[in-house]
Symmetry: C2
Subunit: 495 residues, 2 copies
């Protein structure tokens, strides 16, 4: 470095005071970095030789059976991911739906390099005891501004499973508070709670749905019913499970059948609640995904969710909408449940993935009345809230909700067109915004399709038993869909 | 910014190629930042008016009852924390024992500003499917180098509770694998697992100890027995709980009594295991902290833990040592259980806090034999592993284990001296490295002492019912202990 440069830079202000010159440098530096390619480019098998070698190394430390390929994140950009063998793929799975605005978005790089954020990244606090000065305003300027309509209470958490676990706890507390009618807990409750025993640890349950996925810690896992690899060998509370609607497509051809299917499922929910009550394990909470993702991209109507809310209200049960995969703008509205026009806000809304931080929103009746009830050492990570701030700015400035709605319609039409051309291969095309899916006749043909797409530079996911799952960023455009369509048809022709 | 400066900087290499000039700039910039004060300085009540105002604001969004004060992290340095009212305190609680090398350590700031790390911070991957190119070598150069003796398998996780949850799952799987004798799971097991029912979700249990703390998600919480605020109203599996030794101090005066106490607890463990077996809920795992921290800084001897391991081996039970608070060098050895000279490595060792990333080590028999069994979207955060790399370098280069051992002895002697001068007020001085504790006659006098210390600029914690808990960084020196001692005696005189 030249002496002049060093001299100029050493005159900068100390940490804490934001240094405008250096910010300019970094702003320039970062925006010059990553440029999205215009099309995929696959040179090797996927995984290629470099990925396979890295996988062998990592496998000496941990089971890597599910590792698909290793990634060169520094050279991935926008909607394109580059693996370590130099293969460039349009990414329509985006780290299990957790990349909001693409790889190496210049605004995220800039936020990471902003000296004003440095102490937040460097000093992770015990948020419940010693929050950073700006934590309240950071929440007000981020999570509160995008809160689901009618809700203004929010807690951060580290990940999706933790968010579900703690939302459940809020529901259990609220249920028991109401049962106690404002009285404090008894000494017997306090003592038995320390021993894992009733009445302190009451026989309450949470109802979930077949094919649901809510996470893989013990409480969240008791709500999860997708694959045996998630569940086998793990003790679980025997909480009630109801059927989730399985709709016939195209929806307009099966209006009555689908209405009957949803009514049947709602009746089953009521039945399970009554049975649980009788068996001494009353339901305090119904947990449900607005769209069942891992379980097969199963959609249900707004009427179904309105019906669920009615059942909750009638029975004094909290409604937990798990928006970990569906929130953060993925549906074209910020929260997918906004499409349902519920009469009242859901009691609990969990988030993670594209929100970058985990956490949950809750109505005032779900708010703990004593300190330290929802608590752990970190309670999330303010560094992730800083990055979320940037993501929300980008969503707003670039009108990404509108773009996601538009691109989603275009993508769905692409799937519908393909389905009409290949009716024996494709069915049940469905989607909303950045969530899209289509079914194959069986799991084997689905897996073959996904693999062939990958080798043409389109990276997609799977869910359920025979569904191809697409999960894009919010920055996907029609031009990307055209690239997908081109490769998709090429693969279909080969089938 | 001058045109020349801009020109020189804009000639830098693009992202991904490490830019040496810019690294030099940031190296200089960051090392010039935070200088540790030489003594505390308290100007207002704690919390002061600014903290109280921020707390009122934040309380409109979430329950803030446990918020002690808001922190100016940019102006905190080393072992000193500065609150938003400008009060500077020697921090002997360090974010519930989760700051390894002090606030704004220049090396951590440098790592955050290193362009080579930027894409890791900007693109959080789904680690189990698409790890970054360097993830294997990052693990090999960090977590593997400090693995507990005899263990080389490790998974990252997001937080301490998640780490315990997943370590439990590894233990449950290993138990059932052995029971199946190498056979695959039956169709009945696979089907029932999706329904939360046996045999797929078996009636297994994990044994824990009175006054244990292992986290607050459902599985970890079933092992936790400290305060009712952690437990009340939450359904829990009714897993067995044994007594943890309560030792009399000074240890050298109560050798036989303490030996008898530990033998009694071990006998109780064996008894609980037999009872659980008979009741059809066999124990697959014993979870234990090497020192019970939240529960009152309860130490037990190496012989006790050797005895526990013998019981585990005899009964085919996994031993899970929860080192979330005790690991990462806090005891003067990297893992506290290294002081126990166990005959074999423990099966599972969990970590978080000062490790910056959560996770757990496991012996080969605990390794899942199918992919995706221990899995979630993020499975930790490679950005935290990057910071851990820096922390481990600092620990090694600055010989911080030796320093922690030395400073810990000096601190313990300080507590012992104070105890001998104030025998009616202080008792049971105990500690190891950065973990130290002393008891007051009751909770009220303990809380009064802690509050008075805070107003003299010494920030300490509490645990159990009447214990003052000290948890320093690994960079604490004798000079800091002298500052503590000076204020401690001043407070004791006022008592």
């Amino acid at each position: 470095m030249s002496p002049q440069l060093l001299k100029q830079l050493t005159s900068l202000k100390p940490l804490g005071a934001v240094s405008q010159p250096l910010r300019c440098v970094w702003s320039f530096y970062s925006t010059s970095a990553a440029v999205e390619p215009s099309s995929p480019s696959v040179k090797t098998a996927v995984p290629g030789p470099k990925s396979n070698a890295l996988k062998r190394d990592l496998d000496s430390i941990q089971n890597t059976e599910l590792v698909r390929f290793f990634v060169d994140y520094a050279r991935s950009a926008g909607n394109y991911i580059m693996d370590v063998d130099g293969n460039v793929m349009l990414d329509l799975m985006t780290q299990i739906a957790s990349i909001p605005v693409g790889y190496n978005h210049p605004r995220i790089l800039k936020a990471l390099m902003d000296p004003a954020n440095l102490s937040t990244f460097a000093n992770r606090p015990a948020l419940g005891m010693h929050p950073p000065a700006q934590f309240g305003s950071d929440l007000s300027n981020t999570l509160v501004t995008v809160a689901p309509p009618g809700i203004d209470q929010v807690m951060t958490m580290a990940c999706g499973a933790c968010s579900v676990e703690n939302a459940l706890k809020a529901a259990f507390m609220a249920y028991r508070r109401r049962e106690r009618g404002g009285n404090p807990p008894s000494q017997e409750e306090i003592q038995t709670s320390l021993k894992n025993s009733p009445p302190g640890c009451p026989k309450l349950s949470a109802l979930s749905f077949n094919n649901a996925f809510h996470g893989r810690t013990m409480g969240a896992l008791a709500l999860t019913h997708t694959k045996w690899v998630h569940k086998l060998d793990f003790p679980s509370p025997n909480w009630p499970i109801a059927s989730f609607p399985y709709l016939k497509y195209p929806l307009e051809d099966y209006v009555n059948e689908n209405k009957a299917e949803e009514a049947k499922c709602l009746a089953e929910v009521e039945d399970k609640i009554a049975t649980a009550q009788k068996s001494g394990q009353p339901v305090a909470c119904i947990a449900v995904e607005p769209v069942q993702c891992e379980g097969g991209d199963n959609f249900a109507s707004g009427q179904f969710f309105q019906g669920l809310q009615d059942i909750c209200k009638k029975n004094g049960i909290a409604l937990l909408l798990d928006e970990v995969q569906t929130g953060a703008g993925a549906s074209g509205k910020f929260w997918l449940h906004e499409h349902f026009y519920l009469r009242d806000p859901p009691n609990l809304v969990t988030f993670a993935k594209k929100m970058l931080t985990g956490g949950f929103y809750y109505t005032p009746d779900m708010r703990p009345t004593e300190g330290g009830r929802i608590f752990n050492t970190w309670i999330g990570d303010p560094g992730k809230v800083v990055l979320l701030k940037t993501v929300l700015e980008v969503i707003k400035e670039d009108s990404l909700l509108a773009r996601t709605e538009d691109t989603g319609k275009y993508l769905l039409q692409t799937l519908l067109d393909a389905q009409s051309k290949y009716p024996s291969l494709l069915s049940r095309a469905r989607g909303l915004g950045a969530l899209a899916a289509i079914d194959l006749p069986d799991g084997a043909s689905r897996d073959k399709l996904v693999d062939k797409l990958c080798h043409k530079g389109i990276h997609v996911g799977v869910c359920g038993s025979r569904t191809m799952r697409l999960r894009s960023t919010l920055t996907l455009e029609r031009k990307h869909v055209d690239v997908f369509a081109d490769r998709f048809y090429a693969v279909l022709k080969e089938f």
